[in-house]
């Protein structure tokens, strides 16, 4: 018992390992609990959680760019798109339709890494000329990039599937998989090829947990390394960092590329699971969703980004879709049932209004958090001071 207490005390400054342990345990028990609570029909929820994992991955990646290195990337979805489209083009019959004539069916396990490198390359390409710009300009350039990339995919005609996108993507396959009492089989390995289809959502979930665990370990290592320190220094005071020997452009480029790589990685998984990509799914709404997740959970803080992602994902994809029906019945029960119906002068009905609330929620989160609790949900007094504290000269000026 005292060993645990000592461990906790030693980690009071760095509570990350505890947070990770808690989340990992929760992740492992989640499908079991869900299946139990829904009497075996919890597949939908497990699949939803696997999709949520995609956002968790992206939040971790954007956190490296915004939270660690302090670079505001408003076009993060562009790299997500690049990862997804790389997967779609190389793991389907698509290339057979293009002038190349020969379809590529690169296996999932190799392709996610290829997609990751392609996205990282795109990040480096965009970052190389633009990362030396000051924050505002970088933000708007990334915003523009986030608009351009889906537009290019949409207008790519035969090469990118054009407006309809690319469908019927290959699913991940393994030569064997574990089977056990949860599918009414004796514990052991399956003998035939295992395919990750929408019938095996739990398999996707398990895969996602493994991927997230891996990414978290790697990013956590970075945080406490030479590079992580350099990121913190560049974020705090770029000139002082440069004077102390840090090549700020190169360090920022690494952050940007790693963020892009994570997004591309998530994109490949997303494409494989959905088995479909279309430029419609990669707009600004995705970039701002991930940003809101990182800001909500706490910038610069890996567990924070993950918690922010989980909370916001739950609100957006579980709560909000079900809210209209609940709010409508609530309105009816308090006698305001008339609000539920659409009127000719434009009121679309209470239910529809609630489902349109996404953007307002994002805006409120971003503005509210920055004004009221800039360190995000997870506690971090240091970060709070960092984000609101005036520089010494500014304090003096404000005091005048």
């Amino acid at each position: 018992m005292s060993a645990i207490r000592n461990y906790l005390r030693a980690h009071v400054r760095d509570p990350n390992p505890i947070a990770y342990a808690l989340m990992f345990i929760a992740a492992v028990f989640f499908p079991v609990v869900v299946q139990f609570a829904t009497n075996g029909s919890g597949d939908y929820l497990v699949g939803l959680a696997a999709d949520g994992g995609v956002y968790v991955l992206m939040a971790i990646g954007l956190n490296v760019v915004v939270g660690f290195a302090g670079l505001l990337d408003l076009g993060y979805a562009a790299f997500f798109a690049i990862g997804s489209y790389t997967y779609a083009i190389l793991a389907s019959a698509h290339l057979g339709v293009t002038p190349i004539g020969h379809a590529a069916h690169v296996p999932f396990w190799l392709l996610i890494f290829i997609a990751m490198f392609v996205a990282a390359g795109a990040g480096a390409l965009l970052g190389a000329p633009t990362l030396r710009l000051r924050g505002d300009y970088l933000a708007i350039v990334t915003l523009g990039f986030g608009e351009i990339v889906p537009s290019v995919f949409r207008n790519g005609k035969i090469w990118t599937g054009g407006v309809p996108g690319i469908s019927a993507l290959d699913v991940p396959k393994l030569p064997f998989w574990i089977q056990g009492p949860w599918v009414n089989q004796p514990l052991g390995f399956t003998t035939e090829e295992f395919r990750f289809t929408s019938a095996n959502l739990t398999a996707y979930y398990v895969l996602m947990v493994i991927l997230i665990t891996g990414v978290v370990i790697l990013v956590h290592n970075l945080q406490n390394s030479r590079l992580g320190r350099a990121w913190m220094a560049v974020r705090e005071d770029e000139s002082a960092a440069a004077a102390s020997g840090v090549n700020t452009v190169s360090v920022k480029l690494l952050a940007f590329s790693i963020g892009a790589a994570t997004s591309g990685f998530a994109g490949a998984f997303y494409g494989a699971k959905l088995s479909y990509v279309s430029s419609e799914n990669f707009g600004f709404i995705v970039s701002v969703t991930v940003l809101a997740m990182v800001v909500l959970g706490g910038m610069g803080n890996i567990p924070g980004a993950m918690v922010g992602a989980i909370v916001l994902y739950f609100i957006l994809f579980q709560f909000l879709p079900n809210a209209p029906a609940q709010i409508e019945s609530l309105a009816t029960s308090v006698g305001l049932g008339s609000l539920n119906h659409a009127t000719p002068n434009g009121w679309p009905g209470l239910g529809e209004e609630v489902s349109r609330a996404k953007y307002v929620i994002f805006g409120l989160i971003l503005v509210g958090i920055m004004l009221l609790r800039p360190q995000g949900l997870l506690p971090s007094q240091v970060r709070k001071q960092e984000l609101t504290h005036a520089s010494k000269t500014a304090l003096v000026a404000a005091a005048k």
Partner: protein, 345 residues
Amino acid sequence: MVQRVRASVVAAPTSSLINVVGAIVVAYVAVVAAQRIYQGGPIFFAQTMGFGLALGAIYALVALGYTMVYGIIELINFAHGDVFTLGAFFSLALMPAFGLTEGKSFGFGILLPLLGLFVVTMLLCAVVNVTIERVAYRPLRHAPRLAPLITAIGMSTLLEGLMFLWKGPFNLHYPDLLPETQVTIAPGVSIAAKALVVMGVAVVLVIALTQFIGRSKLGKAMRATAQDRDAAQLMGIDINRTISATFFIGAVLAGAGGIMYGLYYNSVAAFDGFQYGLVAFTAAVFGGIGNIPGAALGGVLIGVIAAISDGYFFPAWTQVWIFSILIFVLVFRPTGLLGMRVPEK
């Protein structure tokens, strides 16, 4: 006393190779464009130019707001493009109150109500923008750069969300009150009268702005604060009021732009301002950020470029060209066309 130099974009090494390559690319595109323009004939060209200049006039009005705010507090007010859309939305909602309905023809009869509509809408937009500054930007004026930027994009998203809640995602029809006639400028060649009206209003507003900035006390205060905030404060200038005034004026122009956008295109939607804002900011940077004539010039040029791209090349790639201009200017010539070479800090 050592002159205070403002921190600015650290210029990338302007190697002459890049300049040469850039010049060749621009020259090539210009030649191809000229060829196609010639082939298309003067009638189409005049129409395209009319469209481009009207578009450019609207971009100029929005760009001015961006450039003034950036010049004074070095923040990109992402919500500015949405204030522009609000101008269209507000005026649409107010039109019945001024007796302006579909079918009313353009003439002296509607000038007074139209003026009233402009004034009220512009005031409403100004109130919104000043409130945004007061509530979201002022508390974070001394926070690290990232904080106000995030708040700005959050504000933009919030405004879009509110308009989305109010009117949904669909295109709203905006009454067609501008003249439908064509104005002949040469034998057989004409420009839409609509375009001329839009340009005319924009010119009037820009001239009014320039006079105000150049002559009035507040205008002087704005220029002083943009150059050196501490010195201006020491001279007794009320910084908060000056900044609020800048947001006020910027919104007035954007609101007017929004009305003209509605009148010209006869359609507005909640998310229009997002793209428009991006292009308008590109125009502001193109002309020289912080520079008022630059923003006007940049707006017009970008409008014309966009129109030529839409008319003579692939419209789908117009956005890509505009974005490329943004990157090129920021990386290789951050001072824009008319900006001063601000020394590195």
